[in-house]
Symmetry: C2
Subunit: 665 residues, 2 copies
């Protein structure tokens, strides 16, 4: 057999191996440590290396995109040496980052072509107001308007075919009018005006004076806005310079309402009692105002300098923020009071920004498909794409949108909070101490896991649960109905208080000194949750007669989506079985949509159009949902034709296990 | 000489007199009392009788209109018997009323053709909102809007050529949205909505929800609005049913700010010190809210039921009401902060009506030509009349408008408060105890006066001062320069502390037990005031090259105008010399204009047009004003050709005096 040399970039010596040797074996020989949490099964992707020169054969490219392959990336555990090769071993962090590159969409870029003068509804202008005299005694207010009109009509952003821009009637609060005369004189007739013109279309709208300051504002100075997403769990806030369009600060914090209930239903119930609504409102306002202060101090500005806000959030969060009773959201027939709230002012809503700043609560579609989803769809771009996309915001409600530039249908699956760790014995949120990824050895049934914060584990978060469920199933610990195989030779599979269970971590390894397990009841709850989500996809697709498998891309939004392992999610039948490349992780699409709407009035209009274009399908009123749900209550599904890659993987594992068994005889 | 019988309707016997006998003499013979305050000079009109049958000759028809003559009215002191006659002697009150018929325009009638559905911006509708169900889960807010749209687009008041009415986007406050769900359910999906659509033109405006109440409102029920005029002295308020258009209650009260200054200048000064602005605002709000309560309790409604208000007032009053500093009104170059304030809500401005009611502060023109004048012009109709009219609001500022449907010019004459009693030793406001009319006997120089409230006199109000000045001049007590004739044989003309003076009432007749006099200084002040007003007319007319004497009608508005005696005002040269018929007293034109604007959105638009159409002429910057003013500092004027009727009257009196003198020899 031919011999080849293998050079790893991180050691100086070359290693000689025979044709057909795996790179992992070569590395071991060379003394190079390569991570293999899945035990060299080619499934976790952690052993990724880059072949810089020479010939290898890839047994599997499961974790690799076409582009990865082009660039020479390979999984060391699946790469067979077929010539002299030079291999770069990236640091493990880099591999992790690469694996999740697509999903950390958080490095936000200013939308291409953003032009403050053309797209922003808020305009700050330096004005020289003509001085009154005995020959020109018009009032201060007209004088200001004349100066403003000249300025705005001068550098109008209107489409040329619409003709020259004519400034609409200007409004101002009494508070501003009361200061008007003094500000004009204090600035010696030079002032800075900040105006809001929601639609720069002739005859379509009105202009509102937000602020008037004595003197000119030097150029360039930022003009501040905030985009906010009020999640049930987390509130995210981006502080944005409306002129450059840049996101200057990103801040996030748990929603202060969490202490009064983990999910929207318990919040609604709490709010409907006594003065719970006032308390809920104050709690979320406190969170937002703390974030504003934090962002402000990081940017070295007063939060009062912020003159515009856009807000996304699910319908319950929006109602609680606005102080509108949310009770009807919870009760049949599940309607909101308002999906598209009128524009409000910061002082009305209670935001600690400029009191006259406009606060635009973005429009939602229904009780369980809120503004976070319309904003999410906008930022995903699916509404403007000829391809058919499936947009998913995985979380308690499992909001899903299917469609294209031609049509959009949406539903919410009421998955329940299982994937957020609730209703699962050792479930927890994705914080320090949560197991976020699990691999199980198909021979020994021993687990290998990764913990957030690299500490001892306390429990399992959503991605950990999905990962665990997939591993238990693929390795035969769970059968397709979700029942434990009690006959496997492992002490980790045992009968516990809640029926059969599997021990992920022994007491000694855990933070709290007790075994971390997943029980039969937990599995049942997770199955129901994933079945509800998948059934939602199915019903949506069926409702428009579009085959789910024909979907051209799957867009995953939401904070939870950021951490999800698609492959695992497909293996348990949570996500449809599609090639790796079709999945895209978009990060917090809601705050991204709010950011787009903050910058560009056309984007804002588009969110409104999206909200009204989406056909909402109420699953609890849909007869086909129950069938789709029960069919999906299996691992991965009753209809295995829908999950060909999982079938193939099961076959491979079985083959491997039978070989081992044979060997072991 | 032929004898004739004279029958008076109030006595049974006939009286026989010779041809040529005056009816006053016949009355004396018949024992019929006829009032002759002017001493039978044919000037006061109080001896008016109606000749029902027979022949008389009228020596003078000074006090009679053409129509009066047609109806047989005659002044008894000027009516010569030339045949058998039957005479009706009307009760004195009736004569008084007849003399001032034209001026008590206060019996308001609903504008001809007023149609609530076509003209009112506020609409109250009973709505049946569709119930939500699992098949129709749209939000409450859309549901309400759909019901409202159907209703409003169904009975649209639009011009047919404008196409069917399309309801504009609906806005509502957070307060209303917070109650929305509960109100809909409480009324079992039957509700009463009150909306404000300022302009019922497609694509021109927006609609605002003012109130939403559970259940239907039975028809007919009134829908309440108020028209308010904030005068420097008096606040007037009309409570109006917007559906029928009827004025249900009229109420008026002294402006509570009076205690802090009689005129606008002293109010501005007071407001500019410490927290004087807040105090001023609260004082006028207190007056308004007391009036609202009084009107409400008289109409048996809660003032919170009032859903719309329009407000007229001079620019200073408007600034003080809105809490906008008024300082610049007082200082060169005399500009306001705002002539046309944006629409506000009752809760913002502090009116004790429905908190979401719209409060429309009508637009003014300049610092000293305010919304009271634009509203006044509207209610006078001069802006829509081909005739050229002179509109006068006599008071401190003497606002004047000259024009027609083609053009309008305006000015304010800074007459000062002399005619309101200030700057005159025994001047006072027109309240109980004020002498409001004076007649002086041309032989004895003894006065005859009428006191408001038929009590002992305390002083003289504006109309009393005008009357007195005219009598003093006509009877030669004052010369044309306003100097006292010290040589007349009357103890009433004497040298006092302030130079020469005339005693109207001796101490014994007066309330305070001291002589009531008019001094040389008083006369000077009054001359200045009247000269300023007349000079204003002159400058206005000259500015457009229109001869003042060609003016087709003189429209007199304002509370003061209500009591003024035109003839006397002409005699002193305050008003231009024109036939009696050309003068029309319109009453409180400001509140009348506010009432029109309250009812009819076209009238409201017209006020805006009037305000912008009026060319304001600043007299203090006008070179010709000083000349016109000095020329007018005489009684009646240096140019006697401008006052032909006064010349004629002087000649008649002189003739009479010389006859008497000859007789007396």
């Amino acid at each position: 057999m031919a011999e080849h040399t293998v050079s790893f970039d991180i050691v100086s010596d070359r290693t000689t191996v025979q044709t057909g040797t795996l790179l992992t074996e070569a590395a071991r020989l060379a003394g190079v440590e390569i991570s293999q949490p899945c035990g060299g099964q080619g499934r976790c992707g952690r052993c990724m290396v880059q072949v810089q020169d020479g010939q290898i054969r890839r047994r599997s490219t499961l974790r690799l995109s076409t582009k990865d392959v082009e660039l020479g990336f390979a999984l060391a555990c699946q790469a067979v040496v077929e010539g002299d090769v030079t291999v770069a071993v990236p640091p493990q962090e880099k591999v992790e980052r690469r694996l999740s590159t697509d999903r950390t969409a958080a490095k936000v870029t200013v939308p291409t072509g953003y032009d403050y003068l053309s797209h922003q509804s808020i305009r700050r202008v330096n004005l020289t107001v003509s001085k009154p005299s005995m020959d020109d005694q018009s009032d201060d207010w007209s004088r200001l308007q004349t100066a403003l009109r000249k300025k705005l009509e001068g550098d109008s952003p209107l489409d040329p075919e619409a003709g020259p821009f004519q400034m609409p009637p200007l409004r101002a609060s009494l508070t501003l009018l009361r200061r008007l005369g003094r500000v004009l004189r204090e600035g010696d007739w030079q002032v800075t005006a900040i105006v809001d013109i929601p639609s720069w279309q002739n005859g379509q709208t009105e202009a509102r004076l937000i602020a008037l300051l004595p003197g000119y504002t030097p150029d360039p100075s930022p003009l501040w806005g905030v985009a906010i997403d009020i999640g049930t769990t987390t509130v995210s806030l981006w502080l944005v310079d409306l002129i450059s369009g840049e996101v200057k600060i990103q801040a996030a914090e748990y929603n202060g309402q969490i202490a009064r209930g983990e999910d929207v239903i318990s919040r609604i119930i709490y709010a409907s009692k006594n003065s719970g609504d006032v308390e809920m409102r104050n709690l979320v306002l406190k969170t937002i105002n703390q974030l504003l202060e934090r962002a402000g101090s990081r940017a070295k500005i007063e939060s009062k300098e912020i003159v515009k806000a856009t807000v996304a959030g699910n319908s319950t969060m929006m109602h609680l923020l606005l102080g509108i009773p949310a009770e009807s959201i919870r009760l049949m027939p599940f309607v909101t009071t308002v999906n598209s709230a009128p524009l409000t002012l910061a002082q009305e809503i209670g935001f600690a920004i400029h009191p006259e700043a406009s606060v635009d609560c973005l429009p939602g579609v229904a009780s369980y498909v809120g503004a976070d989803i319309s904003a999410g769809v906008l930022s995903s771009g699916m509404d403007d794409d000829e391809q058919v996309s499936l947009f998913i915001d995985i979380g308690t409600n499992g909001e899903t949108v299917l469609g294209s530039s031609e049509w959009l249908v949406t539903c919410a699956c009421s998955a329940g909070p299982a994937f957020e760790g609730a209703g699962v014995l050792h479930g927890m949120r994705a914080t320090r101490g949560a197991i976020e990824e699990v691999w199980i050895n198909s021979q020994s049934y021993e687990p290998n896991y990764r913990v957030i914060g690299e500490t001892k584990p306390r429990g399992l978060c959503g991605s950990g649960l999905i990962s665990l469920l997939a591993e238990l199933f693929l390795n035969g610990v769970l059968d397709k109905a979700g029942n434990f195989n009690a006959f496997l030779p492992s002490e980790r599979i045992r009968r516990g208080e809640h029926g059969f269970e599997y021990v992920i971590a022994w007491a000694a390894e855990s933070q709290q000194g007790q075994d971390i397990v997943i029980t039969h009841v937990d599995v049942d709850n997770l199955l129901r949750a994933k079945a509800a989500i998948y059934a939602g996809f199915k019903v949506l697709a069926d409702s428009v007669g579009y085959p789910l498998e024909a979907v051209e891309q799957v867009l995953i939004g939401g904070a939870f989506g950021k951490y999800i392992n698609v492959e695992k999610a497909v293996e348990i039948g949570l996500l449809p079985d599609m090639p790796w490349e079709k999945f895209h992780f978009l990060g917090n699409t809601a705050v991204l949509g709010a950011y787009r709407a903050l910058l560009d009035r056309r984007a804002r209009l588009r969110i409104g159009e999206i909200a009204s274009r989406m056909t909402y399908i109420e699953l609890s009123a849909d007869n086909s949902f129950y069938d789709a749900f029960t069919s999906a209550l299996f691992l991965p599904h009753t209809d295995l034709k829908l999950f060909p890659s999982v079938v193939q993987e099961l076959e491979e594992i079985e083959k491997r296990q039978s070989v081992t068994t044979e060997k072991g005889r």
